[in-house]
Symmetry: C2
Subunit: 219 residues, 2 copies
DNA sequence: AAATAAATTTAGACAAATCTAAAAATAATT
DNA sequence: AATTATTTTTAGATTTGTCTAAATTTATTT
């Protein structure tokens, strides 16, 4: 199926939101895509007519099987390019997202499969998110947001919800990266902020906002 | 300057046609871009308003300094990606054009300069065309179409005008590639076809059409 | 359950890039 | 030089993706 860049962005965003939050609605998708709710409705109709989405007016929407397959293809491309940019071109892991966002729309299957082989068929991208294989299979990791991690429980930072640079800049500042060993020392109910300890770093406090967007493997 | 994909394609095409043929006109550009003359006129106005083109109604058009600079950036990206696809991903040199056509529109300078370094700052792409450097400098090679090569003169195949797969398929069949040693044995005035000899291959005859689109270094 | 608030959709407009068909300008030919 | 042919441009329409503002539907409160 040939999709426009815009259609691809919507599909990918819906997929990503469906994973991290149960219910996706028009407004949250509009905020996520930095566009108006009216535009979302327009595109939902279009994706429905292309049979990629189940959608009932005012009721809700959800990618169907075909939509999921398309999403996984796009995500595979995105994550392979991110891996390439870090592993081969030596870019910083917190700066590759925007470039991958453009590269992901080049859809030649031969290109992507050769790239995959060239990179050694990596399992995860530099943010710790799994890379779907050629047939769309993803290893589902039991990640959870840091805010849901039990107190004093050791865990490994697995990924960061990839909306924008700002959070990554901050994490870099604290010395937090994918694979960092992390532990929550104290939780402040007032604003959801957490006192945390990263291995080999001083203790520090991060906001509730940050704690929602950092994901960990809880072993 | 931020340019749309379409604007980039027009600029690149104008640049390429200006190199290979003296006068570029509305109709030939329309044929080259597989679009209508009316669309060409529309875009010429737009590029003029962006000060990338000198253009007078009915009179003609030509990239100005700024337009040339933009063209060279796009061509640099295109050729670096072609090199990457062949050298790193092992793709066939006659199949990389279309994919590079898409990759070239990803315009992050950091990406392109890192890619350049990663590839070892190559001088030419797999078709033998020179890759502009970061500042837009191109090594101008004294290429000529095979049809203009003197009889029995040894030369090296340097490039192939890159419009489409068809010609490349044929060249592959004859065993002609970039770097092949080539000599014209006989020229048939009737239809411009040439009897040629490629080093370590049997003699063969190619059409006048082909002889116009194969370029050689004439030492 | 009525009133108010929030979320979603429609209606109508706009910009970009394209098209066809007709008009205008330039070039070629008799 | 008058006519014909070619090239180029205009006029007006279309598609895609977006917008704002208004209308509609659903959810929440009082």
């Amino acid at each position: 199926m040939k999709l426009s860049e815009s259609e691809e962005n919507y599909i990918k965003s819906i997929y990503n939101l469906q994973i991290k939050t149960e219910k996706v609605n028009t407004n949250s998708l509009a905020v996520f895509l930095n566009t108006s709710p009216a535009s979302i409705t327009d595109m939902l109709k279009k994706l429905k007519s292309k049979k990629l989405l189940e959608y009932k007016k005012y009721y809700g929407f959800r990618l169907n099987e075909a939509g999921n397959t398309e999403a996984l293809k796009i995500i595979r491309r995105h994550r392979l390019w991110e891996f390439f940019l870090v592993a081969k071109l030596g870019m910083e892991w917190d700066k590759v997202h925007d470039i991958a966002e453009e590269l992901e729309h080049v859809s030649s299957p031969e290109l992507i499969n050769r790239l995959d082989a060239y990179l050694g068929k990596p399992k995860t991208d530099p943010h710790g998110d799994p890379i779907p294989d050629e047939r769309g299979k993803v290893v589902l990791l039991k990640q959870k947001p840091l805010k849901d991690l039990a107190m004093k429980q050791n865990a490994i930072v697995s990924s960061v919800s990839s909306q924008g640079h700002e959070i990554m800049e901050m994490l870099n500042h604290y010395g937090i990266g994918i694979g960092s060993q992390i532990k929550v020392l104290k939780s402040f109910e007032f604003d959801g902020s957490l006192q945390i300890k990263i291995a080999r770093k001083p203790e520090c406090i991060i906001s509730g906002m940050a704690a929602q967007n950092i994901y960990v493997y809880d072993n």
